[in-house]
Amino acid sequence: MTAAAGRQYAGEPLIEVRGLRVDYGTGPGVVHAVVDADLTLLSGTVMGLAGESGSGKSTLAYAMTRLLRAPGMITGGEVWLHGGSKPGGSGHGPGSNGAPGHDPARRLDLLAADETQLRELRWSRIAVVLQSAMHALNPVMSVGAQLTDVLRAHMSGLDRAERRDRAGRLLEMVGISADRLSSYPHQLSGGMRQRVMIAMALALEPAVVIMDEPTTALDVVTQREILQELTELQQQLSFAVLFITHDLSLLVEIADSIAVMYAGRLIEQAGARSLYQAPRHPYTLGLLNSFPGLHGARTRLTGIPGSPPDLRDPPPGCAFHPRCGFALDICRAETPALHTIGAGGRAAACWLQSGHGTVPAELGRPEPGAAAAAPAAEAAGSQA
C-alpha cells in the first residue's frame, strides 16, 4: 500500500505557489481564507493537503487554479505553472496525440493568465476530481458525452468515432466496460461514478490532478479499491497529484509529501513519513492523534480540544494557541511564519521550533531517515 513511500522528490517544480492570499467578501466581514501560502508541487509526486473543514485547504487548491467561486477573491501572491505547451503550439494539430509538448523552461503565472490561456491549459495540464461524483457529473448528459466533450475541446484532430473509441478505452482503464458510455450518471453506482471522473481527469494525460476528498463520499471498501487503482494509475502515468483531505492517516499511505493547514495558513510541510513519525507542529501532532493508524502499534486517540477559530475574527498571534497545550506568551501575540527546519526540506510555523522555549519530546522526535527511529519508540512517545 505504501506505493509512493519509497520514491524521493524526483520531480522538478510543477506548480509553485508564492504568498497566495484569498479573501471571501470585503470590509468588516471579510474572511481571510488563505494567508501567505507557499507551496511547491513537484512533477510526478503526490502531495497531500490536510486540515479540518474550514481550514482553507480546498480554497487554496481552487484559488490556485482560478476555479474558486464568488465571493472568493485572490488578493495577493503568485502561482507559477512550469512547463506547458511549446511556444506557438497553442492549437493541437491533427498529428498531436493530446499530450501537449512540454517545455520545462516555460512558466506561466496562473494569476495573470487570461481566459483563453486558462481554458487551454485546463484539463490538458491540470485536471480536477471532486468529492461527490454525483454532483460533478451532469445529470442530464450521458457519461460518453461528458467524456468526449473534453476530447473535442482539446484534441481537434480526432473525429467523432475516434473520440468515442478513446472515451471507451478510458472507461476500460478504470475498470468500467465501454458500453457504459451511453449510461447516465444516475444509472451508475457511487464507485463507478467516481471512476468515471478519474477516467475523465486522465483523458488528456495531465501533468497534475487535483483531488478534493475524492473518496470521502464512498463506502470504505470502494474507497480502498479506488485508492489502489489511483496509486497504480499514478505510477503508470506519473502525473502529479494534489490530494486534499481531512484524513491524515490516508495521506500517510499515498502521499510523498504532506502540507497541513490551519485557519488559512500552512503550518507544517514535510515528507509523508517525516510528518507522520516526527511531527513538528502541535496541531499536526493533534491531528495524528485523532486517527487510528492503519498499521503499527495501537495508540490512544486524543483528538484536539476546542474548535477551529472563527475566521472572521481569528485570535491574535498563532491562530492555534487557544487549543495548544504548549502555547507560550509569544504565541498569543505574534504569528509565527513557516520556516525551514533541518536539511530535509521540511518546514513548520511554530515558535517552539524557532528557539522559543524548549521543544517538547513529542515534537522533537528524530527524522525517520535517522537509523535510530524504531516504530515502537515512536508509538510510546505519543501524547498521553
Partner: protein, 326 residues
C-alpha cells in the same frame, strides 16, 4: 410510460372537474338558472333563446340534477355544447370552431416564441450577471406587472394609430373575400397577427426571463458546471451544461404559467378585435350568451390541459432520470 400515464390521468381528472364546475355554476347561483339568465338578458328574448336555454339547463323536462348532469356529459361527448343564444340558431360548437383556429395560431405561436426567447434571455442574464443585462430585470418586471390589454392599447396607439405600420382591427383585411391560401393572403394574415403576437411575447417573456434566471443562478452553483469550466470547454458549452439543467424547471413550470398567458392573450385579442376565442368571449359577455360562455371556458381549459400534456412529454424527453422511470 408510467410517468406519462400518471400525468394523463391527472389531466383527465382535471378535465372532469372542469366540466363538473362548468355544469354546476349556473345551478349554484341563487334562484332558477333560466330565470336568472332571462332576467339578465333584459328582454332580448326570442323564442329560440328560450328553447336553447331549456335544452341546456334541462328546464321543462323536470329531470333531477343528476340526470341533467349525465345528459350534459352525453351531449358534450357528442360535441354538443348547446345553442349560442346570441347567434341563434348557430351552435356553440360552430361559433367556437370558427374562432379557435385564429386563437391557436396566434396564441400558440406567440406563447412558444416567448418561452424560447424568455428562456434564452434568462440564461444569458444569469450568466452575465453583474453586467448591464441586469438592468433588463426591472423593465421585465414592469411588463410582467402591466395588464396585457394595457400593453396592447399602447402598441395599438403607437404602431397603428400614430405610425400606421400595422392594421388595428381583425385578423385579415376587412371585406377581403377569402381568396385561398396564397402568398398575399398569408402575408395579410401575418401582418395582422404581428402586433398582437408581439404584445403577447413582450408580456409573457418577462416571466420566463426572471424564472429561468433564478433557476440558472442556482444551477451555476452546481459542481458539474464548475467541472465543465475546469475541463476547459468553450464558453458556450459551459453555459449549455448549466442551461440544459436550468431549463427543466421552466418546462415543468409551464403548466403554472400557461393559464395566465392564455388569459392575457385572450384579452389581447379583444383589444385588437382579433376574431379568436377572446373576441367571441367578449361578445358572449356583452350579449349574456351563457351557453357560449360556458363552452368557451371548457374549450380553453381543454386546450390548456393539452398544452400541459405536451409540456410534460417534453420534460420526460429532456430528463433522463424521469425518462428511465417512464
Amino acid at each position: 410510460m408510467k410517468m406519462f400515464a400518471r400525468k394523463l390521468a391527472f389531466y383527465i381528472v382535471t378535465a372532469i372537474a372542469a366540466v363538473t364546475v362548468d355544469f354546476f355554476i349556473p345551478h349554484a347561483m341563487p334562484g332558477n338558472p333560466v330565470a336568472a339568465v332571462l332576467a339578465r338578458m333584459e328582454g332580448n328574448v326570442t323564442p329560440g333563446t328560450i328553447r336553447s336555454l331549456e335544452l341546456l339547463y334541462g328546464i321543462g323536462s323536470h329531470q333531477g340534477l343528476w340526470t341533467q348532469y349525465v345528459n350534459f356529459w352525453d351531449k358534450l361527448l357528442h360535441g354538443d355544447l348547446g345553442i349560442s343564444t346570441s347567434n341563434y340558431p348557430a351552435t356553440v360548437s360552430s361559433v367556437i370552431g370558427g374562432a379557435l383556429p385564429w386563437t391557436l395560431g396566434l396564441v400558440g405561436t406567440a406563447t412558444l416564441l416567448s418561452f424560447v426567447l424568455g428562456t434564452v434571455l434568462g440564461v444569458l442574464v444569469a450568466w452575465r450577471r453583474g453586467t448591464w443585462l441586469d438592468n433588463l430585470l426591472p423593465a421585465t418586471t414592469f411588463f410582467q406587472a402591466a395588464p396585457y390589454f394595457f400593453i396592447a392599447f399602447l402598441a395599438l396607439q403607437l404602431f397603428s394609430t400614430n405610425l400606421g405600420w400595422f392594421p388595428s382591427v381583425g385578423a385579415y383585411s376587412q371585406g377581403l373575400v377569402f381568396p385561398g391560401w396564397d402568398a398575399s393572403y398569408i402575408g395579410d394574415v401575418l401582418h395582422h397577427a404581428l402586433l398582437p403576437a408581439l404584445t403577447i411575447v413582450l408580456c409573457s417573456a418577462a416571466g420566463w426571463i426572471v424564472g429561468t434566471r433564478n433557476v440558472m443562478l442556482t444551477t451555476m452553483d452546481e459542481d458539474y458546471v464548475l467541472i465543465a469550466q475546469a475541463k476547459g470547454l468553450p464558453r458556450q458549452r459551459v453555459i449549455w451544461y448549466a442551461a440544459r439543467n436550468a431549463v427543466l424547471p421552466s418546462v415543468s413550470g409551464f403548466s403554472l404559467a400557461i393559464g395566465f398567458v392564455v388569459s392575457g392573450a385572450l384579452l389581447t385579442e379583444i383589444v385588437f378585435s382579433y376574431p379568436g376565442l377572446g373576441w367571441i368571449l367578449l361578445q358572449a359577455v356583452g350579449n349574456r350568451d351563457y351557453p357560449l360562455l360556458q363552452g368557451i371556458f371548457l374549450i380553453i381549459t381543454f386546450a390548456v390541459l393539452a398544452a400541459n400534456l405536451i409540456a410534460d412529454s417534453v420534460y420526460i424527453f429532456l430528463d433522463p432520470r424521469i425518462r428511465q422511470e417512464a
